[in-house]
Amino acid sequence: MLSPTTTPQNSGEKPMREKPRDLPFPLNIYQSAIGKKWVMAVSGLMLVGFVFAHMIGNLKIYLGQVEHNGVLDYDTDHYAETLRNLLVPIFPEGVVLWGMRLGLLAALLLHIHSAYTLSMLSRKSDNAYAGKRDFLAANWASRSMRLTGPIVALYIVIHLADLTLGFGIATGEFEHGQVYENVVHSLGRPIVAIGYIIANIAVAVHIYHGMWSAFQSLGINNPAYNTLRRTAAQVISGLILIGNVSFPIAVLTDIVSI
């Protein structure tokens, strides 16, 4: 860092990798692992925010049919309609929704890219033990991030085909805008319902470690609430788990039906 004459002699150990040439600001932030981890944390928290709001929104399934302006309508359908009409007439219909979708997509892509490159960096830096390791702090959630992450990614693709776009795995009865009925038809298939349960457990486990990890990655540290970081991760991932897993169970058990 300073005048070369003060730098002690190299001890013979060559760096594993050279520091890349600096890209212009702010791209240079993403060149370092800590910068990537920061991007991972910010994008991850955006996705958690989405998953949480999505879960709360889906609870409307339990309201069934509700009267809107004198018309009896599934509350979920009305909610989906409202999302498309957010901030109308300031923006044309669907624009705000698409803005949010693009933001989420960008977050997802950055999240996956940083996760992938950092995992590769660690894999190259690691040298496995020949004997059995005895872990003290690393838990099943933190050690399965590179498994739960891709499960979530796969689930996102299947889930969009199933209930947003209506192709592939979607049921024959799929109809745009008929949100409530689409959900009941799709999750009425036991195999699909079980798939949703497994995937949403993976989401919750991923978020359980991710939330706690994000505080560290962002350098958010304050003695007043440090001990609450674990609790916050437990509460958020717990609520997401209970909410999301309840939907397939409710449809399977006819608590939610047409």
């Binding site: 981890k37 660690s122 830096s125 933190s142 706690w212 990890s213 350098g219």
Partner: protein, 257 residues
């Protein structure tokens, strides 16, 4: 009178950096339970020498828990099962008669084995060399109390400076990340008034050197559990915060604090 232990050791033997290594089993008989782990290895080695077998090379120096030279994986844990204890301070009374003990060197791609249980930890020196000191020439040492240091800052700096640089954090990390070591070395200077002028140059420089050798932290927390000096994970958060502060405002180049 101390009691004696009979143990079975599975020790990693490797003649040199490029030679293949493997576990070799040794019987360690009649080990006094008040000997330290390293003394136990001394006894085993004396035995090996008598039998004309090449003794086990293991890292050690001060044997009083302050130099950071010792350090091996003992039954899959860095420095063994005792919390806040370096290998040289681990006593055989913590083991039971008849135990099998697996002993392996630190593992990280940047820590090549030199021989048996000894690895090359010079990447850690590289991190220090890239910023773990105060350069600004200030003449001879001033009066001790000339620079006032708030008590909290002094304590935080002392907590960080407790790091003995043994490398257990890196050895214990499933990612072989150097975060705990680097952040401790960084924070003991960055929390003091004397460290301020070079604060952001220091964090960028040390982090970039660290990343040339070690993996990416995923906040497992294994490092802090393994640390014989109980260095806190908080320092990693401080380092991340300082690094991003520096990057976002380009402080290393503009030298603003």
């Amino acid at each position: 009178m101390s009691t004696e232990l009979n143990l079975t050791l599975q020790v990693w033997r490797q003649p040199g950096p490029d030679a293949p290594g493997s576990f070799v089993t040794y019987e360690a008989k009649g080990i006094p339970d008040d000997s330290s782990f390293l003394e136990m290895l001394d006894i085993v080695n004396e035995n090996l020498i008598e039998r004309d077998v090449e003794p086990i090379e293991f890292p050690h120096d001060c044997r009083e828990g302050i130099c950071g030279t010792c350090g091996v994986m003992i039954n899959g844990r860095a420095h063994g099962q005792e919390k806040a204890t370096a290998t040289c301070q681990l006593h055989m009374r913590k083991f039971n008669d008849g135990d099998t003990i697996v002993i392996e060197p630190w593992r990280a791609a940047a820590f090549p084995v030199i021989k048996d249980l000894i690895v090359d930890r010079s990447p850690m020196d590289k991190i220090i060399a890239s910023g773990g000191y105060i350069y600004a020439p200030t003449g001879t040492a001033g009066e001790a109390n000339e620079t006032l240091v708030p008590k909290e800052a002094a304590e935080s700096a002392m907590d960080a400076a407790a790091c003995i640089g043994c490398g257990a954090c890196i050895a214990a990390c499933p990612n072989s990340a150097g975060q705990l070591f680097t952040s401790a070395k960084l924070w003991h200077l960055n929390s003091l008034p004397q460290g301020q002028p070079e604060r952001f140059q220091r964090v960028e420089s040390m982090v970039h050197t660290m990343e040339q050798f070690f993996g990416a932290c995923t906040n497992h927390g294994e490092c802090a559990e393994a640390c014989p000096k109980e260095i806190s994970l908080d320092f990693i958060a401080y380092m991340n915060a300082d690094y991003m502060k520096s990057k976002i405002k380009n402080r290393a180049k503009s030298a603003q604090i």
